[in-house]
Symmetry: C2
Subunit: 331 residues, 2 copies
Amino acid sequence: MDNFDKIAVIGGGSWATAIVKMLCENNSTIGWYMRSIYAVEHIKRNKHNPNYLSSAELHPEQLDLSNDINEIVGKYDVLIFAVPSAFLNSELEKLNESLENKVIFSAIKGIVPETGLIVGEHFHQLYNISYENIGVIAGPCHAEEVAMERLSYLTIACQDEKKAKALSKKIKGRYIKTKVSDDIFGTEYSAMLKNIYAIAAGIAHGLGYGDNFQSVLMSNAIREMKRYIKKVHRMKRNINNSAYLGDLLVTGYSVFSRNRMFGNMIGKGYTVKSAMLEMNMVAEGYYATKSAYKINQENGAKTPIIDAVYEVLYEKKEAKDVFEKLTNMLD
Amino acid sequence: MDNFDKIAVIGGGSWATAIVKMLCENNSTIGWYMRSIYAVEHIKRNKHNPNYLSSAELHPEQLDLSNDINEIVGKYDVLIFAVPSAFLNSELEKLNESLENKVIFSAIKGIVPETGLIVGEHFHQLYNISYENIGVIAGPCHAEEVAMERLSYLTIACQDEKKAKALSKKIKGRYIKTKVSDDIFGTEYSAMLKNIYAIAAGIAHGLGYGDNFQSVLMSNAIREMKRYIKKVHRMKRNINNSAYLGDLLVTGYSVFSRNRMFGNMIGKGYTVKSAMLEMNMVAEGYYATKSAYKINQENGAKTPIIDAVYEVLYEKKEAKDVFEKLTNMLD
């Protein structure tokens, strides 16, 4: 299946909306599934997603919108999943249509909570999709800046390089540059891990650590990420490429990152539960921390930062004490 | 000379003041030279440097202050130079005292404009100091956060590891952690290069590029820095250690960095000259850009970011055009 003319996006959030916007630059029709029929109707009428990335102007005449996931999956060959990882499983449970012969790209940055797998592994193990038909769209990329058409770089990964190149061609444009990679595991794991490091950055900030420490934390985080991913999937990769280091930085230094905000509240003394209630959502890094920690129990990479975040979030240890211990393990 | 009991700091700026503050935590007496007799007297009377890092409380009873560089150089064995690189040469010209048998640590982040050399090379070539007696104090470290006693990590480098360890012991303390290294060339060159990348980050911001691009720029900058330093002095080093990557990040992401500010004004349309006049100072990265570019003309590392900054600062090319070209060379 090298026909990349029939592409659909699954999901109605900010990142899904940003990807639709990019695709509309190069493609006459894009399939788009989202749960809310209200949002579907609103977009058709008003050319804007009412709930997410509302500033982006959309082109309904190019959009094949539906709130029926089976309709969209049935009609399209290339499916870009961009729902929050916590909702992926419940969306997939609605499927009657087969995923056989589909090419699946994950634009999801996280772990599927029900299986503890990254999205690519989830599709491979539960839906029998071959790794040749699984790809990843990786940042560094805030959706908000895509809405503003600010120059952004994406990495499109697939073990079948032809498919990575084909999607890359469909996505790049005036304000999007793309790079092709064959590292679907590294790009997806690092996209997941960076949310944990963003929580760590937030906790440190909340505890009163400054910019000097933040830079040391990020410098240790990228080394930790390299060790972690090497255990998961050993291959030649430059961890300082934008898909890994760039993605870590855009999140770890962002004051808008929900993961960083969540960490910040905990550093300032909120309990995990009250921080979640206050934010009215669960930061993806919260699940990622548990899964990443468990996976690494077997792999045994040295991961002092992930361990520290795990202790704070899941073992109810005092952030202040845990981070004081952590500072002695960094350099 | 392994006697690290007689340490003096040369310089009266923010970073010199921060180093004096750190040293006073572990040492009974610290020699301290600064040009201004007014500042010397003010510190003795008021326990604060009147001009730089004024918030830091100093302990005059521990300080052997003088505005005579020969007096301080004559009395002390270990000399930490922390004057701006642009003033180093004129300070050294005042010397009658010999530097023979002194251990010289550079806390200067830049190129000596008159010779185009980094500080260690300058002392080696012009003052015949052996590399075993030359060291570097590297960040990532904003002096302002030392004043606030916020946890910071320094790297102390010397090819004679004993000396690096000896100074490290004298510097580390409640809010300072240290790491020892033998890479005096890499730490000093990277401290110099990061100022160029901070100018680049400023230019990009001034031109309207956003956070997505900034993270790509930093991810490319660290790879470029690795290539550059490898040509200058090839050895085994992890470019993601705090002295390299951390130092790049603390400067490249700092809105207080004078280099970034200088770049930002140029991105917004100021000429180089008017930006300097407006800032009432010359950003160190301005000199660094010229030297780094010239050095690399011989070494031939691929350095699109340094080249771009050079073209803007020294060839009067339009920042907008130069950066548009640059965006196609990054990934």
